[in-house]
């Protein structure tokens, strides 16, 4: 699979495909379907300092080519994760990207410091873009100044490279990207979900108990591709792209937009084998396209190329 292996800050990946945070829990469920060592990396569910019960149900609602979720960062807390989930994952040959969330700056620092010590955590993903918890970090995600400060503080304590996960609910994603790059971020993850709502017309009420939720899936792919296209031309740190990826063709599109790796979220729900299937298809697609290494595709939509495609 020499076409697919990539090196990103902290992450030596066999291939550029990882399940997205929150869509794969801590891997145990999907390990029943396939060998997790097949994956390029795993972005694990957000960790907070304390146990979080999450939001009331219903927590998901389907929309056209998408879904809303308002899980609310439910997680067993950093200590439980360190003691139970991460050691279990050590049996697999796969680097982990630890998604870090919190209410206040100190939460992020605490989680980042602790979790970056875990032997199989090779990078952090700062979740400053969860739309489903009033104090879920979204305040950091909409203000470049706050995002920048948080990034600096986390960089100070983290033993591994730090990726910042950006929110698409903004008029100017480039400013946010530049701010966190200047603050020392080693990479970006984009995009998190768009804030949406669905109303049940029989009851007159929003379907989600939390009222609003995060929109993910194929519906948001054009927004993700556009934002990665914009940001990748303005920063020099790598981007992990996500938002509606279902196929190897989608992965190629994200690379061409400017991504250097990708995460697959919602697609896992419609097909538990989505990630390994995409990885296999990608190898084949690149071979058909005559691409000797996937990294050649990064930014192809805006870079000048010696050799043009087809």
């Amino acid at each position: 699979m020499s076409r697919l292996n990539i090196e990103l800050p902290g992450l030596s990946m066999k291939n550029p495909v990882m399940p997205a945070s929150g869509c794969f829990a801590f891997g145990q469920e999907y390990a029943k379907f396939y060998d997790l060592s097949k994956l390029g990396a795993i972005a694990i569910k957000a960790a907070t300092p304390e146990t979080r019960a999450g939001n009331k149900t219903p927590r998901v609602a389907e929309t056209e080519s998408g879904m809303l979720n308002a899980i609310g960062l439910q997680n067993p807390g950093i200590d439980h994760i360190m003691e139970n989930e991460l050691p279990w994952l050590e049996q697999y040959d796969v680097p982990l990207v630890a998604n870090v969330a919190g209410k206040i700056k100190e939460d992020y620092i605490e989680v980042a410091e602790k979790i970056s010590e875990a032997p199989n955590v090779h990078a952090l993903e700062l979740n400053i873009s969860c739309p489903n918890v009033k104090e879920g970090g979204i305040q950091f995600g909409s203000d470049p100044q706050m995002a920048s400060e948080l990034t600096k503080e986390v960089k100070k304590v983290s033993k591994v490279p730090v990726y910042v996960k950006l929110s698409p609910n903004t008029a100017d994603i480039v400013s946010m990207a530049k701010a966190v790059e200047a603050a020392g971020a080693d990479g970006l993850s984009m995009i998190n979900t768009l804030v949406g709502m669905k109303i049940d017309i029989r009851t007159g009420k929003p379907i989600l108990a939390n009222k609003t939720g995060g929109l993910s899936g194929p519906a948001i792919k054009p927004v993700a591709v556009r934002m990665i296209h914009e940001v990748s031309q303005q920063v020099s740190i790598p981007i992990i792209g996500m938002g509606g990826i279902y196929t190897a063709e989608d992965v190629v599109e994200f690379f061409m937009a400017g991504a250097s790796a990708v995460a697959v979220g919602t697609a896992n729900f419609s097909d538990p084998f989505a990630c390994p299937a995409i990885i296999d298809d990608l190898e084949e697609l690149l071979s058909e396209m005559g691409i000797s290494h996937i990294s050649e595709l990064t930014g192809r939509s805006w870079k000048q190329w010696q050799t043009s495609l087809s």
């Binding site: 929150g22 869509c23 794969f24 829990a25 145990q28 469920e29 999907y30 029943k32 379907f33 019960a53 999450g54 149900t57 219903p58 927590r59 998901v60 609602a61 389907e62 056209e64 080519s65 998408g66 879904m67 979720n69 899980i71 439910q74 899936g217 194929p218 509606g244 279902y246 196929t247 919602t266 896992n268 729900f269 419609s270 097909d271 538990p272 084998f273």
Partner: protein
């Protein structure tokens, strides 16, 4: 827990908007426990995005029977399929009904909560348990599966408008079912609440929660456990359920 494209052997309209479909495939052989469900992908790869949970209604060797009511887009797309087409099926999922070993079991089902109880009735009867079933419908026209139940159970039907059997809800039939050693129930939450209150014994209920992954990874389908906590404070309907003991989860 496998993913397989099962082939449609038959499709039959059994009540208004309700269909019975028989599907065939290898993975069906592992669908052993009543109360478990399958998770169906319909439409195109990317649309609609979520699978649809449907109960296992019956299994014979490699043939799976499901009964579904057309509610929205997903069930409508399923129903557009014809004999010979395949359905992308993930299953069996979840924990089913623990089987009583002797005595008498009361099965209480409402609407499309009835199908999983048929497979249960069959297995209970095979163990020598005496089975009584209370099947609730809105009206006589909506009735389905009542004949099939008669093979395994003593059947009482309730209809809301009294057009067949006892007039009222399933709970209105409960007085004439006692005594029994355990009950099993599946149907809308409001029915389950009423059943739990009215039932004479402890029992098992099967919940219909909105699901994402169906395999325990997304945390869409959590239910709160009732105090006192016996460990985790929540359970996942897709993985720890959909069947729970009465008193286990907050309804």
């Amino acid at each position: 827990m496998k993913k397989e494209n099962l082939t449609i052997l038959s499709k039959e309209n059994v009540a208004p908007r309700v269909y019975k479909m028989i599907l065939e495939g290898e993975s069906v052989k592992s669908m052993l426990t009543p109360g478990q469900f399958v998770h169906l992908k319909v439409g195109t790869l990317k649309h609609p995005v979520l699978r649809r949970p449907i109960s296992i209604c019956n299994v014979e060797n490699n043939k799976l029977t499901i009964i579904y009511r057309i509610e929205g887009q997903g069930t409508a797309l399923l129903n557009e399929k014809n004999i010979g087409d395949t359905v992308d099926t993930l299953g069996p999922l979840g924990e089913g009904f623990p089987l009583q070993e002797s005595g008498k079991a009361l099965l209480i089902g409402g609407g499309v909560g009835i199908p999983p109880l048929l497979y249960l009735a069959k297995q209970l009867k095979a163990k020598g348990v005496k089975v009584q079933a209370v099947l609730g419908f809105r009206t006589a026209e909506d009735m389905f599966l009542t004949e099939e139940f008669k093979t395994y159970a003593d059947v009482i039907v309730t209809t809301e408008d009294g057009s067949f059997g006892i007039k009222g809800f399933v709970t209105d039939a409960l007085p004439q079912t006692a005594p029994y050693d355990v009950f099993y129930s599946c149907g809308p939450k409001v029915m389950l609440r009423a059943v739990e209150l009215a039932a004479a014994t402890a029992g098992y209920i099967s919940l219909e929660e909105r699901m994402g992954c169906g395999v325990g990874a997304c945390l869409a389908c959590v239910c709160d456990k009732k105090e006192p906590f016996t460990g985790k404070s929540y359970v996942k309907a897709c993985q720890d359920g959909p069947v729970f003991q009465t008193g286990e989860v907050v309804l």
